[in-house]
Symmetry: C2
Subunit: 231 residues, 2 copies
């Protein structure tokens, strides 16, 4: 969520005046490794990232997916150590801030503190929704909810036009995000296509029945504190 937008010009300028390092990254590139120290805070300028962890039994769970303008990992940036792996879903561009600089800015500018804190609170909201998704919905519901959430977030970021968008995830990754296997995701997606809910083609998702998809996923966008409609 780009919470910096509603800031006063002065605050925006102060933020943009921070020294940072630009970094172009490829798809699949690991940004932060689980357990590594993280002296810097990251803003995602372009592309998509995801945070995940692999258990000893080999199973992997994706904890969150980030879209442009998100801060994918304020947590480890401020706690000091990464507890998840942060990786690129697509090629992209990052801005790396030194944690101490950000700390100082946050100290000096309450508006920025509020914006970042708010961003953090939204992260919790989304994470809680993922717990619900993985814990209490069946395969169709989980996928439907994921697709709805992604659409909403993209829309609020101005990255969604019409009723289709690019979901840059393989079925393997979708499976790891919703706690299923790729095989079952595949079958479920087929079923949803047959039902006329969605249409997919090479990473492009087209929602052909919004009401039906939202109903299937029991989707209530209230947890995304975002202006109700803009598209």
């Amino acid at each position: 969520m780009n919470q910096l937008e509603p800031l006063a010009q002065e605050d925006r300028d102060a933020f943009l005046a921070l020294p940072f390092r630009l970094k172009e990254v490829e798809a699949g590139q690991v940004i932060l490794d689980e357990g590594s120290d993280t002296p810097s805070c990251i803003e995602l300028l372009a592309g998509f990232t995801y945070r995940h962890r692999t258990l000893r039994n080999g199973a992997r769970q994706i904890i969150s997916v980030h879209i442009p303008d998100d801060f994918p990992d304020l947590q480890s940036g401020l706690l000091g150590t990464a507890i998840h792996t942060l990786q690129m879903l697509t090629p992209g561009r990052l801005a790396l801030f030194r944690a101490e600089d950000l700390q100082r800015l946050v100290f000096e500018r309450p508006a920025i503190r509020n914006a970042l804190w708010r961003e953090t609170l939204i992260d919790i909201s989304i994470c809680g929704e993922w717990v619900i998704n993985v814990g209490r919905r069946d395969a169709r519901g989980r996928i439907a909810h994921l697709l709805c959430e992604f659409a909403m977030r993209l829309r609020s970021a101005g990255l969604l036009e019409g009723d289709s968008y690019e979901l840059p995830m393989t079925q393997d990754q979708i499976a790891d995000a919703i706690g299923l296997t790729a095989v079952h995701v595949n079958r479920t997606l087929q079923e949803m296509r047959r039902s006329g809910l969605i249409y997919t083609e090479r990473g492009i998702v087209k929602v052909t029945n919004w009401m039906g998809l939202a109903a299937l996923g029991d989707f209530n966008p209230q947890y995304l504190p975002i202006e109700p409609d803009r598209g």
Copy 2:
């Protein structure tokens, strides 16, 4: 997590000088209803709470459990609306602060801001761990992980002595916390008792094999930024 402890005396005093309302509450009492406005921030002084939501299909998912000294719902307190129901697990005592007072204090005292922000970040860590738990572990692993997490948090709060503690949850509630049914939780607990991992009796959980339990739950306490040992 009581992150206020390491604060300077001056900051502690400022916090404690805030006007607040004390509230004694019974077990099962609803503190905050999903969708309601929340003008106040809550600190849990005694007892346990949990945050949960019920889906349209009737399934319920518990998103988090809170122990004394936690702020169970900074999120809705600061975002303005509750997206989950907050309810007492046991009888307890709450301190209700006006959100604006807390905001002001946070503005005036960077140390308190840091403490609360840190608390928020820990909440995210735990929430992410729950996603992993519910998404990628089998029944035994989920229960084991839940028990380990609870023990660690209680220990860091000074509420754990020896190898047993009170887990104030029914099997129904445990099931809703880890995305299973009460029936399956029951059978799995029996299996774990037979394996000699734990011993349970009326809400009291006694861990008889810490290593085994941690291994079963693939538990790595790193996500709880807590001093490694104190007991």
